[in-house]
Symmetry: C2
Subunit: 223 residues, 2 copies
Amino acid sequence: LFAIRGLTKVYGEGAAAVHALRGVDLEIARAEMIVLLGPSGSGKSTFLNIVGGLDRPSAGEVFFAGRELGTMSGGELTRYRRDHIGFVFQFYNLIPSLTARENVEVVTDIAQSPMKADDALALVGLGDRRGHFPAQLSGGEQQRVAIARAIAKRPEVLLCDEPTGALDSKTGIAVLEAIANVSAELAATVAIITHNAAIGAMADRIVRFADGRIAEIEANRSR
Amino acid sequence: LFAIRGLTKVYGEGAAAVHALRGVDLEIARAEMIVLLGPSGSGKSTFLNIVGGLDRPSAGEVFFAGRELGTMSGGELTRYRRDHIGFVFQFYNLIPSLTARENVEVVTDIAQSPMKADDALALVGLGDRRGHFPAQLSGGEQQRVAIARAIAKRPEVLLCDEPTGALDSKTGIAVLEAIANVSAELAATVAIITHNAAIGAMADRIVRFADGRIAEIEANRSR
Ligand SMILES: Nc1ncnc2c1ncn2[C@@H]1O[C@H](COP(=O)(O)OP(=O)(O)OP(=O)(O)O)[C@@H](O)[C@H]1O
Ligand SMILES: Nc1ncnc2c1ncn2[C@@H]1O[C@H](COP(=O)(O)OP(=O)(O)OP(=O)(O)O)[C@@H](O)[C@H]1O
Ligand SMILES: [Mg+2]
Ligand SMILES: [Mg+2]
């Protein structure tokens, strides 16, 4: 489904230049689940943002179902994200002036065949927090709203940036089961950035980043 | 050093009331390190915020060296925080318009015997990111700036809310060593909220929250 070639991203210039991605090659099959691991600062979020159409590379290409994202205008990238991608952001990116339910509905109101917002919130254990604003939610509760928003969309592609970072292991497992069940039902293509070994166990392949490159790809032998 | 009695915090009213803390009792000895564990939403951040003088309880008392925080005015609480507390926030709370180094200096400029900002940033592995703004830093790098800011202050009391949530295990260990070394040097009193078992291994006692109460306190047998 995805073919990524020579993906490069440089921030800044000259002596201050930061080479966040240094030529990344990867293919992702339809309905596959891959996990992205690697040290802090190794380029994982930058990679996911470009694949999700939220950022543009300095060089290289990302093909999605044969279309190269670099040829898309801003409006076309917006439609690409809206029609195909569910994204769980590392910083949650919730709208402070909307409740949990409203934050999910912003996305489901324009999706093709979404879940009900309340059903998605129930799947992540937040049924009784629907009317709360982000400032009235704990860290882990905010993260779970961000996850509910992405899975409620029932997207073809689910991109998750550290979806369990703020969660205790029991809540994290419940959330991973929600992600796994929804994606299995949709045969979704899933890429998850995580430090959580339990997610590693669910993946088809494990992709290790180091210093802006892919250092290693291994098939998950425990599956 | 701390005596906490009947600490209670209720948000909202009537049917919508959320009982975030339901009468928490705890004593914390000087130079002790305790770890706070518990499910998402169980009251850990609320507890730490009140102990750190960032929030006020609905009922109950927090004694710090014999002074009850509930008797302090807003200005006295501000001085309490400035003079005694280093805080690592679950949401980092960095100032977007200041660089990493400037974010640390905001705190060290008014501290009694601080580290140099550059030394603290080096301790968390960010020596080469000092001039970056928060938006130019990865999630884990932002979290490390927040940690550097707290430990650079060389505080008497260090309160950390999920300090390694966004970090891979190797970076997390380096950061924990920085926290452990700085606090040992100062004989600081440390309370850390975490899901990271490695931090649990460093603690004197493990305090488990559930549903706004302390469910269990155990001495750390592996020390
Ligand atoms: N301003 C608020 N209004 C209403 N409820 C609130 C408010 N702030 C927090 N809460 C609720 O209080 C409870 C405790 O929140 P707290 O942030 O202390 O949990 P926590 O243990 O830190 O969770 P996490 O591990 O997810 O960070 C949560 O259920 C949360 O929804
Ligand atoms: N706008 C920017 N300007 C300059 N450098 C940047 C910018 N955004 C990111 N970087 C740098 O690019 C590198 C990769 O960042 P990225 O967010 O992809 O890392 P990451 O693997 O997601 O890290 P983490 O695990 O800490 O979230 C980092 O070293 C970061 O400092
Ligand atoms: Mg990241
Ligand atoms: Mg919290």
